[in-house]
Symmetry: C2
Subunit: 290 residues, 2 copies
């Protein structure tokens, strides 16, 4: 039996579909956590993702060689939202010589002795490079706010500080893409339960998992503020329906590919004389044959 | 037509085959740059590599979760030796959250203001992590020696400094694997010529390429000294016949897999009560259904 030949040149605009409207209050309750988009099912989406990842690899190579622009991907989600899976299957497939993943954890004492953007700034991508943030400076207006880690007067100032910081990056030539993986409370519970059945995942268990679930409403509110306050034309948030892993992977791959296409990296002019070098090599080849 | 089913459980010991004998003078001229090893051809080797990479990914995950041991892969070769391809196809396929690639270039002025191991030490893997060095501290006894970048009295001392440094890492719990990709002058010339035909590779061209070819003998001598002086039981060098890319990828994948197997990472005991958590989740699921 022949495998089906899928249409991989979809006319569907994933960016437009999932872009959170800039500067506008959104209600996460009205954003779906599950969709099949333009796909005929899981296998179709996986074939689409494989092609998109290959395109991303080629575009990343050109960006690296061009050596001018950078890409910063910010990844946020509640626990079990699928960040690690997305990195393993899509984002982490870029060439590691030009792409680095930063998992931001609880700040160290040295990091806490600086402003909250200090460790973030150090991780931003140089010209030609890509940085992927697994969690980010947004935790400083999410968990820090929900769990009262700092006073309200402190976290309230951070939205503008974040915007000023991201503008600096954009003006230097860094493209910013911010991804929120949106799952339902029911899906999170299912994923937590699956971890219990897999001993290799038990290290991920901790008593805080359940506490976070109880603060779901507070997190939703904090995220909604982020999507309103830190979301300009050049610093977009995409809200990805992530209950279906294959839709999550496909839609993010499509958005990253489109972002690279918009960057349109160009191979630089070469300052050596290719034909001169060719003659040199041909002569050497001929000598070896003598 | 059915695709052939290859034997992927080969009895061939790639480590033993390619290990440079510790503390012994070797002559690179006697080491083959081309072999097919136990493979029936390219497709067989590629199937083997795919399986080995999947095994490496699983073992890397266990090492990450265990959080005790580290792996350091040092990669050295002459130009066009295939380091970038090997990283793209094998080494760089590890999960980027636990694995980082460090391309060491010409030292910056800040790096030159320190001892030669300063920037290297900063890049060594933490517990649970993997570092891949694309070029390394060995350049400080290779290019630095061949091109007289430092006095002989300086580079002569470095062999012992390197050994002491690597011993420190090993004693902390870092496994070290050093890979030399061994190609012939003729194969290098072919690869240089191919670059001329591919505009996307022209950025790699530089006038130094040819100069390096003219110092081939000096480099060989410098490498032979490295393999004799910096090569103990716990800091092994593997000399990989790398004219055939598919053999290079397969043999290095086999060696990295075996290294992880020797590390034998263990999932840690969990300090939460899995059954208690299960009850909590089951109760919540039941409540949602009410």
């Amino acid at each position: 039996m022949q495998p089906p030949t899928w249409d991989l040149d979809l006319k569907f605009d994933f960016m437009d579909e999932h872009r959170a409207h800039p500067h506008k209050k959104i209600s996460l309750k009205n954003i779906p956590t599950e969709t099949e988009g333009p796909f005929e099912g899981k296998e179709h989406a996986r074939a689409f993702t494989a092609r998109a990842v290959a395109d991303i690899q080629a575009l990343q190579y050109r960006t690296f060689v061009e050596g001018k622009q950078s890409l910063l991907v910010v990844l946020q989600a509640l626990d079990a939202g699928g960040k690690d899976g997305l990195i393993r299957k899509v984002l982490g497939r870029m060439n590691p010589q030009g792409c680095r993943t930063f998992p931001f954890k609880v700040p160290t004492s040295e990091e806490l002795a600086h402003d909250f953007l200090w460790r973030i700034h150090a991780a931003t991508p140089a010209a030609g490079k890509v940085s992927i943030f697994n969690r980010s400076h947004y935790e400083d207006v999410l968990i820090a706010r929900v769990n009262d880690l700092v006073a309200k007067s402190v976290w309230k100032d951070r939205y503008k500080q974040i915007n000023d910081f991201e503008d600096l990056l954009v003006q230097r030539g860094t493209k910013i893409v911010k991804i929120y993986l949106h799952i339902s409370p029911g899906e999170q519970l299912e994923r937590f339960k699956k971890r219990l059945d897999n001993p290799a995942k038990h290290w991920k268990l901790n008593a805080g998992d359940y506490a976070t679930r109880e603060r779901w409403g507070d997190y939703r509110e904090a995220y909604e503020d982020v999507f309103e306050k830190c979301n300009s034309k050049h610093t977009p948030w995409y809200l990805i329906p992530a209950d279906k892993k294959w839709y999550r992977d496909a839609s993010v791959a499509a958005i990253i590919r489109k972002t690279f296409e918009e960057m349109d990296p160009q191979l630089p002019a070469v300052d050596v004389d290719v034909e001169e070098i060719r003659k040199l090599y041909e002569r050497e080849s001929a000598e070896q044959k003598d």
